[in-house]
């Protein structure tokens, strides 16, 4: 028989008699006033927060956190309050990380995603146990494993946090029994409540353990998935904000530009004036003034301004006086210039002294007189000759160490006024002074240019937000919206994405197959063209205001016109007289105004050409598929050539770029095609059934660079033969139908009539186009295969990631939920089983 351990313990327990602490204790009194020995009524209760109460609870919890922090800093916090510091620290640290990483990101979306990442991480930590454990456990076991309670001291805790201390007294019999019923616990068993409690406790322990074991896997995955889901809407939202910000800039142009004003140049000019007031306008001072006024301008504009300033600062009646300071400066400047070339002992022999120069000017009656620029040239020549004489004299005396007279004089005389040592010295004492009238003129110029720079900065900011070659601009977002939809639009499957992602060639082949399928199916063609047209219309609506020269004074073009034209006419005014600057701003060719406008129009041309090219490609394939509107493939063309032409055009429309061999028509062809068969090509399911193209050719196929006709017909087939009637019908309701036709015409002339687009001198219409190679590049746009390749690659990466981690996340969720069915299993006592 085993000993009863508890009984043994109790019987062996030492008996201790408590000391009588209070000899005067009146036990009767104490017993008659029992209230003081009663414990306080417990105030602990279960916490059940409804959705409506959540904001209040969150606010209360935040207040509790704040109080905890305060008490911790004072050293009076309890354990529960101190525990809150960890949560606060984690959030503060997380915010610090997000804030730092935001500084390393360039665009609003990437910056915002740092905050989303942080929030999603905390969100994932909170969501996972709710979704994977709490919710299924409630359904399966009938109770909340993450039930919270508030103790008598107002501390909120998890009910099942400590399995050795669960405050069961907060849960009524009724509720426990209800849970027991849900769990299927027999209703007639003895100690039913205890049994249910044990079962609940066991379930909670198992769930808490499962939480700890799965959270590490689940949180990063869930967080990343949340980020993925948030990225697109956030991108749209931020894009709209940027677009509205840009629109606001133009709408309130007059109010906005003063905010962009940088008056530092004006302030520096004032300082310069105060330091040099009524001083001689020396070359150095003039240079300083020019430097100041042109600061912040591009090089070309700056040189135009300098040219104008040179004229303005030349001062019509400016004279130069040779007084006693000039010879001093002549000697000093000359020695300084030559000191690196000639040893100082020789230098002192060849450079005449101050007296000698003074005498020279006196002899020629130049000393002390006001000299004009022309007269001053005489002084320069005299000075040069005087130094030359001195050198020659030295050379005679020192035949063993001859000096190169020409070289020395070149260094001294043949220099700009602002740089040459002699001219600088002779110009140093001018009647041209930095006086108030000069300053008034400069002040006016500086103000005009400062205002212009501010206005230009607003326009630049607008262009940057709308159409810069940068991520997240309005144009970039609109473009991405269209291209991201293409794989779905063209029904490209996951396996096709996996196979075609490697390079453009594979993407091109896939795309060609898809287009051939689409164009051979009426319904599909309608769907694809309609959908594409709708997306292009949406993009067009977003970018149209950039290049629409509307009557509205708020349009970009109108404001550019007014800003540049206004400043230009002011600068041309006789009181300012800056014609070179005005010409640079608004002149006919290469003016700053044209640059400002063409940057935007070129960006839009590239975007539109790329999308219209895709539409044109669809249309071309459709025409081939149905053999309609293809007069280029006329009856006078051998079928073999027709097959070659269609094959080349199909490749060129999908893959051609301005630079690759395809557009140079390096195409291997039969030099001796069959000239007996002039029948039309045969097409099945969008693909040409080639009769000749695939056959072997004796001697091999070659490129035929002189076949001008072949090039001409290719251009006609692609761009000049009418659109397919179906395409015309589908595009008829779009806002850009006319633009597509314009695009085709422009391609036919700018590409077809370029001097050397495909082959030299192959001009389709006989007249050479003046389109630049950049224009040709923009007109070609992005090739559809490249467009697809880029999109497919990104899509593959996203899908691959989702497959890996989404799959893992789903598997984990499945295992966690299924595990619930094994939790809380307990053997029912035998008595009840009977």
């Amino acid at each position: 028989m085993r000993p009863n351990l508890i009984q043994t313990y109790i019987s062996n327990m030492p008996v201790s008699t408590p000391d009588k602490k209070d000899r005067n204790l009146d036990i009767e009194y104490v017993l008659s006033n029992r209230t003081f020995i009663k414990p306080l009524k417990p105030r602990g209760h279960l916490v059940n927060t409804g959705i409506l109460e959540t904001p209040a609870v969150v606010a209360k919890d935040l207040l509790y956190d704040y109080k905890s922090l305060k008490k911790s800093a004072k050293g009076t916090a309890n354990d529960h309050e101190l525990g809150k510091i960890n949560d606060i620290g984690m959030k503060v640290g997380g915010l610090a990380i997000a804030a730092y990483l935001m500084t390393r990101k360039q665009t609003p979306l990437t910056k915002a995603m740092e905050l989303v990442g942080l929030a999603s991480f905390f969100g994932a930590m909170s969501i996972w146990p709710k979704v994977a454990l709490q919710f299924p456990a409630r359904l399966i076991h009938g109770f909340d494993i993450r039930q919270q309670y508030q103790d008598s001291f107002g501390r909120k805790k998890m009910f099942f946090q400590d399995p050795q201390y669960i405050p069961w007294d907060m849960v009524s019999d009724e509720r426990i029994n209800k849970i027991g019923n849900w769990m299927g616990v027999p209703k007639d068993m003895p100690n039913r409540r205890e049994f249910i409690q044990e079962k609940m406790k066991k379930t909670a322990i198992q769930n808490n353990t499962m939480w700890m074991l799965t959270a590490g896997f689940a949180t990063p995955i869930l967080s990343a998935l949340i980020c993925n889901a948030c990225e697109k809407p956030l991108k749209g939202y931020l894009g709209n904000i940027r677009s509205q910000r840009a629109d606001k800039l133009l709408a309130n142009f007059q109010k906005e530009f003063p905010k962009f004003k940088d008056s530092s140049a004006m302030e520096r000019l004032e300082i310069l004036y105060s330091l040099n007031k009524d001083n001689i306008l020396t070359p150095a001072l003039r240079e300083e003034i020019k430097e100041n006024i042109t600061s912040g301008m591009d090089g070309v504009t700056a040189s135009a301004i300098r040219k104008d300033l040179d004229n303005i600062l030349q001062l019509n009646d400016e004279k130069f006086i040779i007084d006693k300071t000039v010879p001093e400066k002549l000697v000093a400047n000359t020695k300084k210039e030559l000191q690196k070339l000639i040893p100082s002992e020789i230098l002192s022999k060849i450079v005449p002294d101050e007296k000698s120069f003074a005498n020279l000017f006196r002899q020629h009656k130049l000393f002390g007189k006001k000299l004009s620029e022309t007269e001053l040239k005489k002084a320069v020549a005299l000075t040069g000759a005087h130094i030359k004489d001195s050198i020659l004299e030295y050379n005679i005396k020192n035949p063993e160490s001859q000096l190169n007279v020409k070289l020395i004089l070149n260094r001294l005389i043949n220099r700009k006024v602002s740089e040459g040592p002699i001219t600088t010295a002779l110009h140093s004492n001018s009647t041209g002074r930095f006086n108030s009238s000069v300053m008034a003129n400069l002040r006016n110029i500086s103000k005009i240019l400062t205002d212009f720079k501010a206005k230009n900065a607003v326009l630049d900011q607008y262009v940057f937000l709308k159409s810069a070659a940068a991520p997240e601009t309005v144009v970039a977002n609109a473009w991405n919206e269209v291209t991201e939809s293409l794989p779905k639009l063209f029904n490209i499957t996951s396996s096709e994405i996996t196979n075609a992602r490697h390079d453009r060639k594979m993407a091109g082949k896939l795309l060609r197959d898809k287009i051939e399928f689409i164009t051979s199916n009426e319904g599909e063609y309608d769907r694809v063209v309609n959908s594409l047209a709708e997306k292009i219309s949406r993009l067009d609506a977003k970018i149209k205001m950039l290049d629409t020269s509307s009557a509205s004074k708020e349009s970009y073009i109108s404001i550019v016109d007014s800003v540049f034209d206004d400043v230009s006419s002011t600068l041309k005014d006789s009181r300012i007289s800056m014609p070179n600057t005005a010409e640079r701003l608004t002149g006919a060719k290469g003016s700053l105004k044209n640059v400002q406008l063409s940057y935007v129009s070129n960006r839009l041309l590239g975007v539109r050409s790329s999308l219209y090219r895709l539409l044109n490609t669809l249309d071309f394939y459709k025409r081939i598929s149905t053999l309609e509107n293809i007069p280029a493939l006329h009856s006078g063309m051998p079928r073999e050539v027709k097959e070659e032409l269609v094959e080349l055009c199909k490749k060129m429309s999908v893959e051609g770029t301005t630079s690759d061999f395809m557009t140079k028509f390096y195409e291997l062809r039969n030099p001796n095609p069959n000239t007996t068969d002039f029948s039309q090509i045969v097409v099945e399911a969008g693909k040409v059934k080639n009769k000749y193209l695939t056959r072997e050719v004796k001697g091999g196929k070659v490129d035929l660079p002189n076949d001008k006709n072949f090039f001409t017909e290719a251009i006609r087939l692609l761009f000049e033969n009418d659109l397919h009637p179906k395409t015309t019908e589908l595009l008829s309701n779009t806002v850009f139908a006319g633009e597509v036709n314009e695009y085709r015409k422009a391609c036919a002339s700018e590409l077809g009539d370029a001097f050397y687009f495909a082959k030299p001198r192959h001009l389709v219409h006989g007249v050479q186009s003046d389109a630049s190679s950049y224009k040709q590049f923009l007109r070609m746009g992005m090739s559809p295969d490249q467009m697809f390749n880029v999109t497919i690659k990104e899509l593959f990466n996203t899908k691959k990631w989702l497959k890996m981690f989404g799959g893992l996340g789903l598997g984990l969720l499945g295992v966690t939920v299924l595990a619930q069915f094994t939790f809380g299993k307990m053997k029912t006592p035998d008595e009840v089983k009977k």
């Binding site: 085993r2 500084t103 322990i205 198992q206 353990t209 499962m210």
Partner: protein, 343 residues
Amino acid sequence: MILPVNNIDRKINFTSGNSEKKKLPYDKDTLLKNNFITRTRIGYEKFTNALTLYAAKGLKGDRNANFYEFLTMGTVPYIVGSLMLMSVFNSANKHFAPFARTKAGAIGRKMALGVLFYGILKSFTKSFVTQPVKWLTGVDTEVPYAKVNYELPDDVYDTDIMSIEYHKAYESKEFPRWDLFYKSEAHGETRNEYFDKVAKKIGLGDNLKDSDQEVKPLIKEIAVKTDMAKTLSSYLWAAAGVAYAFQSPWENYFNVATLKFWKGEKFLHSLKIFKDSAIESAKELIHGPKGAKGFAKHAGKAMIAVAALSSLAGIVNAVSSTNKPSKLDAGDVIQKDGKYVVN
């Protein structure tokens, strides 16, 4: 009067029979030395238990599973989550096209390094606060102890009912384990030796009548303040660690990184580049990346400064409490044999 049940001294055995007992390193609650070896051993034991014993007990729903085990298992999501986070940013990259792979790889590796630095700095920087507080006050808020735990037997034959838990003596600020700091007069030791030392260190003087009573409230205050500073500053240091990992010179290291130590030359080269990248990254963190302006230029500096200030302020705050005497009377404060001048 209710007397405490002290089962330590009496060594009560709840088990029956003389079956072979599991040999445990402690038979009663024992204060341990706070040194590197002990901390490492405790960390190792806790981590392995969290992955094995506690996880198994928890999944089984064992009635002896307790809050300590649940908290100890908290390290599992920390470690697994860190590895998972590294994996989320890196594992799929090998399937990407070369250019995308390179781009994603650079970001992913920085993320992984960030996770690593976060963990390292989060752990080690706690001592930036606790050690100075220990030096200045004599209160080691991190001192561990082994707690002997008696569990309920699974059945009458279950004799394995003892387990060891590792706690810190000041883990609970409301109920610190003061009992472990008292010395045994029966063994010829001074009962309040520990409290005397602390009292002296924090300036309460020598030979106090009841140093334990004087010092306990102050120790509590120090422990609370230290704990707060330790927690907050460690997160800020961890954030600085992530910022450090995101500096571009690390990319030089990623290009040559290898852990294959058996490939001597390559491994040594990788270590050298690691050192160079670490130095350059530190410079970039402090001075800002090339071309950065405004806040972006100074953000790294600010992060380090805030973290360092949080540690420093925490120490000052914790130590400042020692300046106020609690319930000392003038007799204890004024040294009777000292010389005083009254103006």
